[in-house]
């Protein structure tokens, strides 16, 4: 009986995660279209409801209609593509995007006492697919790096110059932003002392201080980098539909295109989960969810709700950002990665490491608690480095040599001369 449960538990979790993610991805597309429409003073999709009736349900049938449309498309493979790689690329992208969720906690734990005693469950059930994986976040980053292959291979296998350009730009962007992404989390790993995402949440819940409060600079770097990794505006250079006809997936259609699109959405969901888990306290909310491992079932439910609400808030922020700022130029994109975000990430790392090493004696000497000292150091580092970046402004006019920038190159009496 116990062995059967042991097998059933991960299978059930996988079913819930895959089903939940696919449904969430479909409905997030609808949410994104609504958000886009509302921000442009339109109403958005609101017609598709229950088929063959006049019931509209605010357009909630739209994702199902879209999915059916994708599935019913003719499965056509162009003559000029590299067939094996053409098929492999979206699969890589989709599988890595899904597999990354194996180590993402969807809540805290299910207490064992809500099951009948005859089931023999003694341990609390952790709400993640692979709770025993100690390398959690490294596993996620490894999969995220493999996802770049999906983009590059898709662009290459399509044998089309637009796709190729899209793949090229995308690979450079994704590889560049891996660095600030990594630097952003190193501070969190130092502070919490674990690679496991549930342990990172547990540490934030135990101290009651979310990592965004002590490492605002790390949050900034990680947030910008995860926007770029998920290829969301203002960093959506891989697709840049106005310039590249859709980028690396120009040649794709039907179910293969759907895999790409779903994977892109899942990247955004992953980024939102990571931001919430690493920096925004995961399932923790002061005075509401408690902090310990031993919970009653209402608290367990509350933790799931709090976590998912935070993730939804982050996703809405992603969608809001999409329409708030124009896309960066390619050289600006690279400048932001190499000249701004990587140095800022290093500054954050140094500050966190110093606080970890010397924070306690320093705090005792100053007469405040260690958390307050870390928060003060973190916010000071944010303000100071932001000020330095603003003063130096490494991204301005970066595509021209300094002596040809307008201020220097234009003679004072240019109007008279021309």
């Amino acid at each position: 009986m116990h062995l059967l449960l042991l097998l059933l538990e991960p299978l059930l979790k996988i079913a819930v995660v895959i089903g939940g993610l696919m449904t969430a991805a479909a409905y997030l597309v609808l949410v994104e279209r609504w958000m886009a429409a509302w921000m442009q003073d339109r109403l958005g999709p609101n017609r598709v409801g229950i088929p063959l009736t006049k019931i509209r349900l605010f357009g909630l049938g739209q994702p199902i209609a879209d999915g059916v449309k994708f599935l019913c498309k003719a499965e056509f493979t162009q003559e000029h593509v590299d067939k094996a790689l053409f098929l492999l690329a979206p699969l890589i992208m989709f599988i890595t995007a899904m597999a990354a969720f194996a180590v993402v906690p969807f809540g805290s734990v299910i207490p064992p006492d809500i099951f009948p005693a005859s089931w023999g469950i003694k341990e609390p059930i952790r709400l993640m697919v692979a709770p025993g994986l100690d390398v959690g976040i490294i596993y996620m980053f490894a999969l995220g790096s493999i996802a770049v292959y999906g983009v590059v291979l898709g662009g290459w296998a399509s044998n089309n110059k637009y796709s190729f350009l899209g793949g090229l730009r995308s690979s450079a962007q994704l590889v560049s932003y891996e660095l600030p992404l990594g630097l952003g989390i190193v501070g969190v790993l130092l502070a919490s002392g674990s690679l496991r995402l549930d342990a990172i949440i547990g540490e934030q819940a135990r101290t009651g201080v979310w990592n965004i409060l002590t490492q605002p600079l790390g949050f900034l770097v990680f947030c910008v980098a995860s926007f770029a990794e998920a290829a969301r505006l203002p960093f959506d250079l891989p697709e840049a539909e106005q310039e590249l006809v859709g980028g690396y997936h120009t040649e794709y259609l039907g179910i293969k295109l759907m895999m790409y699109l779903v994977a892109e959405f899942l990247h955004m969901v992953t980024a939102a989960f990571l931001l919430v888990i690493l920096f925004l306290g995961g399932w923790h909310l002061w005075g509401l969810t408690g902090a310990g491992e031993v919970v009653t079932w209402p608290i367990a439910l509350l933790r799931v709700i709090v976590l998912l609400a935070k993730v939804m808030g982050m996703i809405l922020f992603f969608m809001l950002c999409r329409w708030s700022w124009p896309r960066f130029r390619y050289d600006q994109l690279m400048d932001i990665a190499w000249k701004v975000m990587i140095p800022l990430g290093l500054v954050n790392l140094i500050v966190v490491a110093t606080c970890n090493e010397f924070g306690m004696p320093l705090a005792r000497w100053m007469g405040v608690s260690a958390e307050w000292a870390m928060m003060a150091a973190g916010w000071f580092a944010l303000l100071a480095s932001w000020l330095v970046v603003s003063l130096l402004d490494p991204t301005a006019g970066g595509n021209r040599p300094r002596h040809l920038r307008p201020a220097e190159a234009i003679p004072a009496d240019w109007e008279a001369q021309s």
Partner: protein
Amino acid sequence: MTANDPNTRQNPHDLPPTGESAAKGPAAAGKKIAWVREPELGMAGRSYLMLFLQGLRTTLRHLLSRKTTVQSPEQRHVVPDPLIYRGVHRLNRDAQGRVKCVACFLCATACPAHCIDIVPAESPWPDRQKYPQSFTIDELRCIFCGMCEEACPVQAIELTSLYDLSGKSREEMVFDKAKLLSVFDQTKDAEPMTKGTGTFFGLPVSNEGTPGPAEK
């Protein structure tokens, strides 16, 4: 043309400016170039903070604003001024119910899309020489520019405010004289004919009597 000319340099990164070219600037090459100064960013612009907040404020304001969508089949778009709207054409009738057109071909000549086809015939009425035996407009070719309406000396062709033009075949969308006259019958109450007066080959025309050159 020197090696330092900014317009001919291969790689400007490699070549620092000499004092001469920096002083004279691009105009030294003898080219008439109008330089546009990029606005200098202040601290607020360089820190991206104000731009960040401005972007968010704009989208958030629109997120909550009143929506302008017209839910088309149930709600109808209200044309603000039907008399100046450029929708489906109509052929106007005069007081006796005859077609006003004198088959002068001015509209067909003015039409940039060449969608008007007129077959003239000798007029059965004494007040004009010609009338259109057939008058067809290919509504699919039409670009709704309104130049036919402007060219017409007798206010016989006008654009109405009917905008939801649709059909099931291309043939159906070629409107003949009867159809164009029926559009007039349909819209004449809501959109009265233009009370314009003008001249046609030096002769005064008005909306009241049937205009046109006098009979020989």
